[in-house]
Amino acid sequence: MTLLTEPDNRTAAPRARSVRSRNFALTVPALVLLVVFFILPVVSLLLRSVMEPEPGLDNYRALLGSTTYLKIFLNTFSVSALVTIVTLAIGFPVAWALAIMPSRWASIVFAVLLLSMWTNLLTRTYAWMVLLQRTGVINKTLMGLGLISEPLPLVNNLVGVTIGMTYIMLPFIILPLYGVIRKIDPAILQAAALCGATRRQALTRILIPLAAPGMVSGALMVFVMSLGYFVTPALLGGTANMMLAELIAQFVQSLVNWGMGGAAALVLLIVTLTLYAVQLRLFGTARMEGR
């Protein structure tokens, strides 16, 4: 046995290495592109946070020592969390329905989902502005029906940001969830019913636990994307709902204070990477199929 397997091992190992290095060689052009056009500029911006206006941690002190900026951090996290929860609450039933729908219907729903994803973000955000404003379609309809006497404040506040961002994030949670739910064998649910589980038990003890990896990975993705969101909060929120990305844009473009901009960007980057690490740790790359 030893004699037979030894030569195999010897030849197999170098081959695997050469395949690996050949595969790595294939990624070199993409890596070079990333390093030159992404890593280096980002690093140079981040370096400015400790170099401008003078070397030191003054920018971070100013950023973390100010109640205004801390409020913006807090606001960024709470808006992202709220959007994630609402998106999950709406996305889960949709993904479930898609998974059990006849495929012809499902493809129509997918087309609607994807078309909305491919429509320009600004266009969609402006559309919400027109729908939600005090003199907008929604308020006019509700007032016309006599349901409300004063227009509801739906825009330029947290409500507007949540509606707008939830709408934009929905596909990002529905698609991974759909992938996971599709893989759940319907027979398991039937078995549960046969064993006397109520509909509620089947949902809470079978469907949700089985779909949990998809829910968590989708939710993390939505949360991380929300953290860095710019256009929607800027247009649908009031200035009191400012989020981190808007603050960075303000530092970079309006105040031309790149030191502070870099500092804020680094904080956002660290938070994002940490969350990403958590996701990898919990689910690994293999479990994120359907993304």
Binding site: I72, M225, T232, M242, V252
Partner: protein, 336 residues
Amino acid sequence: MKNTVIIAAIAATLGLSTAASAADLVFTSWGGTTQDVQKSAWADPFTAESGITVVQDGPTDYGKIKAMVEAAGVTWDVVDVEGDYAVQAGKAGLLEKLDFSVIDKSKLDPRFVTDYSVGSFYYSFVIGCNKDAVSACPKTWADLFDTAKFPGKRTFYKWSAPGVIEAALLADGVAADKLYPLDLDRAFKKLDTIKADIIWWTGGAQSQQLLASAEAPFGSFWNGRLTALAETGVTVETSWDQNITAADALVVPKGTKNKEAAMKFIAHATSAGAQANMASLTGYAPINLDSSSNMDEKLRMSLPDMQSKSQINADMGYWAANRDAIGERWYAWQAK
């Protein structure tokens, strides 16, 4: 969107621009109807006359200007910027000195001429009101800050720039000749009283939309946007009482490869004829003192420079010196 910000930062850092090859002149402004007119009133006739192609780019971005100059990869040759930025950037070494042997400054409104910039056009912040939506229109800044007499939302310019702080102080009773140096504590205290009723506009088109839909039936606007809105059939009332003027400026980022052509373009854009055309089409005032003779009398009377009776000139020198400090405080106050 995080990606977009990063991509913008990368593009800025490397001074990349997709817009033009070196032979053309690149003119950058703020987009929208104003840049459309800058193209038709300035750039197109300039190209016809000189044979130099003018590529339009935008929007103006001070971060990009700084990045281009620092990276020695300037791709914007002439940029339309705010007046106070022009003064500040000139001092910071980001701009080329203008060549006044090519640009005739003797005919230009001296309020808007520095070594590094000339006026582009000038405008006033005025009080606009959608007459069909309310029973009474505010006439003064004090009215606009009076939520008891004029309940409802009102709209103001979102960015830190000359205009809103001055309006708040005037509304609080500060005499026009005692405005500068600005009493920021007092201004923010006054602004606090109406903060909950403010909807901010970020650009001219949005300001028009807010007024036309009566989302905010009154507010502070660029006068030209009200002129344009009135032409579309909206019943707009404009109050010029204590209108606050500010000007855009034309500048040349330091290190441009087309300096000579840039000077020629500015000379053309600030000429009496080009300025008159621009004013006729936008409702903003010309900065060339000879332009008025080229213009229709009725239109002429609607421009800010005919409203000098109670006019207030925002102090660009003061703003240039305090731009950063005011900006930081302004945005922190907004986010509070």
